[in-house]
Symmetry: C2
Subunit: 334 residues, 2 copies
């Protein structure tokens, strides 16, 4: 628990530093509406998990945190770019507890703000190459970030094309989560390690670690969707069920339920008006089918594999912090 | 005239070569809907003026055309990315005579296709560095392209924020056209010259040439809007007037008309239902105010300056082709 308290403090310190950098990079743009639209979501907050991953990956290979700051800013710009566009695509009204960019500034300005945030990804890393980093390695970082973006586009396209749990298999799920979540986590660790002067083996290991952590992170989110209370979730309990969302739990349940269990599940799956009692009955059924335990087990396997990959990285405070970060956000040890 | 015929043939040959490269780069993507959406506008055609500019700039500094091909593809991806997103923002239904991407694949997939096209810009140049090009110069190319994108976002934001001719001055116009059109033209020439191993002086000169050519190109478009027939325009004569569009002619006229002339202009300016007679009367007034002659004069000045900038570039067929390209698309010598 002490370790987890410590990571919250470290994340907050890191966020403060990164936020200053992000705001400076976006300020002074013309017209003012574009500046405000591009700053809107950045200023809404967030834990800055991805920048933290970048900075710790840099330190874990013996680099200096300050050398990773532009890369940490870049991955946060990239993350925010995808969120702003996703919100337009999904017609979502709220993000981080604030109205989404398109709700405040209109759809055209939200698309532009996203485009601008993505362009800033490249500007910030090309113009802030650490003195000890070769141009070849900077190009490699650009390639990693671009590869992640292409996977993000692919993941979002899959998400749009197959919107419900009944459309996909567990394999599809893992594939989609890889593209939508893990690809960016991997790039965060890779560019941090590249900025820190890591060897190819270290860059790959940290990348694999972050990829697996990303999958576990998403599955944990799915688990919280049926086990957490409304306050923790920030949305009504059972939303994922009522929306028929593609969570690992829902997909597993649909694949493995008996005929009778399936009937029970369908009382709430994708049923907008499902009652509190329906939701409770469905959660009970999910437990009976073993879908929640299954999801926990899969997440655990990914975390175990993620930690194992770090064996090639020397034991340092940064390496320990990376592990604690994963434990913190998948809440495995709570 | 013979020169202009020749350039049409050269543009067509160039387009064929570039189109093959573009299609290969976009093929094999998953899901299929994303691949199709990202290919849609590319396959709708276009003269590929920007790739041609890149390739000729490369040759003009003594480089090989083949070394510039990935950069030529990149600038075309960038151009198409902005068009796809602009069409979403402007709710436009047609582009290059075909339904726009969002009309065919829906708004979410159009946003994603644009994002993907922009990511491809970086992928294609990072993964295809010509053997003779240093990593530093590749990074410089990436910076030029990113700078152009940021200006494009700014230009589009200005365009959205101040939609009518009466909202802006001639200076605003030149500023906006610079961001919306010239910035990308400049990047086309700069990255071509960088790929061809040009000196800094040559890269800058070709960039300035392309910037000025871009302004002239846009003004010529404005002139055609009131002087060409419907077949040449591909839209009804007088559309720019009925929409109250921010053309150099319209802005100049509003700034310089007498009280009486202004009354006449307002019979069609921004009046959707303006009759053919109203349009004819307004065009006559634009001539009396001197706005059409003014626009021609400004375009001429930009072309003269553009050509002058090329004095530092040795005389080669490629340099002559660049000049002919400008004469071709601003149709000055027709």
């Amino acid at each position: 628990m002490a370790q987890l308290k410590a990571i919250e403090r470290k994340l907050a310190e890191n966020a403060k530093m990164i936020n200053g950098f992000l705001a400076r990079e976006l300020s002074g743009q013309e017209p003012e509406s574009l500046e405000k639209a591009s700053l809107h979501l950045i200023e809404a907050g967030g834990k800055r998990l991805r920048p933290y991953m970048t900075i710790k990956a840099c330190e874990a290979v013996g680099g200096r945190a300050e050398d990773a700051v532009p890369f940490a800013a870049a991955v946060e710009f990239l993350h925010n770019f995808t969120l702003v566009h996703d919100d337009v695509m999904d017609h979502d009204d709220l993000r981080r507890g604030k109205p989404t960019v398109h709700k405040v500034y209109g759809m055209p300005m939200a698309i532009l703000a996203g485009d601008l945030l993505y362009a800033k990804v490249y500007e910030v890393i090309v113009r802030n190459r650490p003195s000890g980093m070769s141009p070849e390695r900077l190009l490699e970082s650009i390639d990693k970030i671009t590869e992640a973006t292409l996977l993000l586009c692919q993941g979002q396209a899959l998400d749009i094309s197959f919107p419900r749990a009944s459309d996909v298999t567990v394999d599809d799920y893992v594939h989609m989560v890889g593209a939508k979540t893990s690809a960016l986590f991997r790039a965060c660790a890779q560019v941090g390690a590249l900025a820190g002067g890591g060897s190819d083996e270290q860059v790959n290991a940290l990348g694999s670690f972050a990829w697996d952590a990303g999958v576990a992170f998403q599955i944990e989110d799915d688990i919280l969707g049926v086990t957490a209370d409304e306050e923790t979730l920030g949305k009504p309990v059972g939303s994922d069920l009522r929306e028929g969302k593609k969570t690992l739990i829902n997909i597993h349940a649909l694949e493995n339920a008996t005929e009778e269990q399936r009937k029970l599940l369908n009382r709430a799956f994708g049923v907008e008006g499902a009652s509190h009692e329906d939701i409770e009955a469905v959660v009970k059924t999910l437990e009976e089918v073993g879908s929640i335990a299954y999801a926990k087990n899969v997440a655990d396997k990914y975390i175990t594999r993620a930690f194992k990959t770090l064996d090639v990285i020397p034991d340092t405070p940064a390496k320990a912090e990376l592990k604690t970060l994963v434990e913190y956000f998948v809440k495995r040890d709570y």
